[in-house]
């Protein structure tokens, strides 16, 4: 389990359920490493503003993280974290390696709309 204040995706079944129950989802799949922690931190900051988006992390080393590690959208990714954006259960964007606030909000705004 990652030491963040985000909700965690705990299993493949949990991942499936989250995508079925929520229209807009962002999942950061990583470790407690220097490239991943800034992304978790930014997601924690954004949670209150983007009330239409559900924010989660997932432990890259858990066996069930294959749902992200092996996703076709992540083919060729060679840097943690793998960050997935889902709309109605479908991947609408996937990013690799560290991202800053501007890069993340840009995807959120484009895919899910700016917060009111």
């Amino acid at each position: 389990m990652l030491m963040t204040n985000l909700d965690h995706v705990e299993s493949a079944d949990n991942h499936k359920k989250i995508l079925e129950e929520n229209e807009n989802v962002m999942i950061c799949c990583g470790r407690m490493g220097p490239m991943c922690m800034p992304v978790y931190d930014i997601m924690e900051e954004l949670q209150d503003n983007y009330t239409n988006v559900k924010f989660y992390d997932m432990d890259f080393d858990s066996s069930d993280a294959h749902v992200i590690r092996n996703a076709p959208e992540c083919a060729g990714f060679m840097g943690l974290p793998f960050v997935m954006y889902y709309k109605n259960g479908k991947v609408v964007q996937a990013k690799t390696s560290i991202q800053n606030m501007d890069q993340i909000t840009s995807v959120l705004n484009e895919q899910f709309g700016k917060p009111e």
């Binding site: 030491m3 470790r31 407690m32 490493g33 220097p34 490239m35 991943c36 922690m37 800034p38 931190d41 930014i42 900051e45 060729g76 990714f77 060679m78 840097g79 943690l80 990013k95 690799t96 390696s97 560290i98 800053n100 606030m101 501007d102």
Partner: protein
């Protein structure tokens, strides 16, 4: 009446957080504004074994404890902001954030920290996460059985090279000088590793590939000759520079673009102090940053006790 902080601290690394702890504990109304993640560069450190009084820990845990301490003393911390304006010249200092919000303070502590230097060569941004990396521990496993280039010649570059060699089939260190800046221990470890080769007196001029990195262009700085080297990845460890871009027009800097301070961490501007990796000093450690932050906060406290800024604010 307008909301005016006693002290606004720019930066939330060990220097900024330490200043926040001391200032808020001294009952100063304290605000920390930070552009990135709370913690600064130290969160990149996987093991801290020489912080006195703390058994081996990691940077993330250490700064999280500092953050918690600062908040418990009443310090307000706002992170992941974009500082778009800094006015330090008036008695009441103003910090503009995200282009609209303005925070006012009687004093400012600049704990701006440093940032990893990037090569700024073609392909570096394009292949980030697709062969270009800044963290061997994070991404090393993606290069299992592959050939990689490491750029740099300091402790980090050589230590990370040895770590990467556990995964890579072949590793080439490219360094601009004909000698390393690293400590002997790291040089010996790298030189004794049969997977690691060295190209000295050379710099990367470009990173090329398709879906991922395929090759790099290397210039021999003596001959000017450009050669190509096939590789699957490029790891960049070329040190840090002080984050002073936003204050360089008002604050006195030395020739290395570091903020010049006196023994009390005071800058050339009244009411403005600086601490941590952004100041002129020889040793950059978590312990020295913490000491700088402490001194800056205590100096601010003294300044406010004696300054007209504080008295005028009370009269108003």
């Amino acid at each position: 009446m307008e909301d005016i902080y006693d002290v606004i601290i720019l930066g939330a690394g060990p220097a900024g957080l330490s200043a926040g702890i001391y200032a808020s504990r001294a009952k100063l109304k304290t605000l920390i504004l930070n552009e990135g993640t709370v913690g600064g560069q130290v969160i990149l450190t996987h093991e801290i074994a020489n912080y006195p009084g703390v058994e081996t820990t990691n940077g993330f845990k250490l700064v999280n404890t500092m953050k918690k301490q600062a908040k418990e003393f009443g310090c307000i911390i706002k992170a992941n902001l974009n500082v778009t304006g800094i006015n330090l010249l008036n008695k009441i200092k103003e910090i503009k954030v995200n282009g609209s919000d303005i925070y006012k303070g009687k004093t400012v502590i600049l704990a701006l920290g440093g940032k990893p230097r990037s090569l700024n060569i073609p392909g570096e941004d394009d292949f980030k996460g697709r062969g270009v990396s800044y963290c061997a521990t994070c991404d090393g496993e993606f290069f299992t059985g592959k050939e990689v280039v490491v750029v740099g010649g300091g402790n980090s570059a050589l230590e990370e090279s040895v770590s990467l060699a556990k995964y890579a089939s072949k590793l080439t260190v490219v360094h601009q000088f004909d000698h390393f800046q690293a400590q002997r221990h790291y040089i010996d470890m790298a030189k004794n590793n049969p997977k690691i080769n060295f190209i000295m007196g050379s710099e990367l001029r470009g990173i090329e590939g398709e879906a991922s990195v395929k090759k790099v262009k290397i210039e021999n700085l003596t001959t000017g000759q450009i050669s190509e080297l096939n590789t699957d990845g490029v790891f960049i460890f070329i040190g840090y520079s002080a984050n002073v871009d936003k204050v360089k027009d008002t604050i006195t800097l030395n020739s290395r673009s570091e903020i010049v301070v006196d023994n009390n961490m005071k800058t050339n501007i009244e009411g403005v102090y600086a601490a941590g990796d952004c100041i002129e000093k020889r040793y950059r450690q978590v312990t020295t940053a913490v000491a700088d932050g402490t001194i800056a906060a205590l100096s601010v406290s003294d300044y406010l006790m004696n300054s007209t800024v504080s008295k005028e604010a009370i009269l108003n």
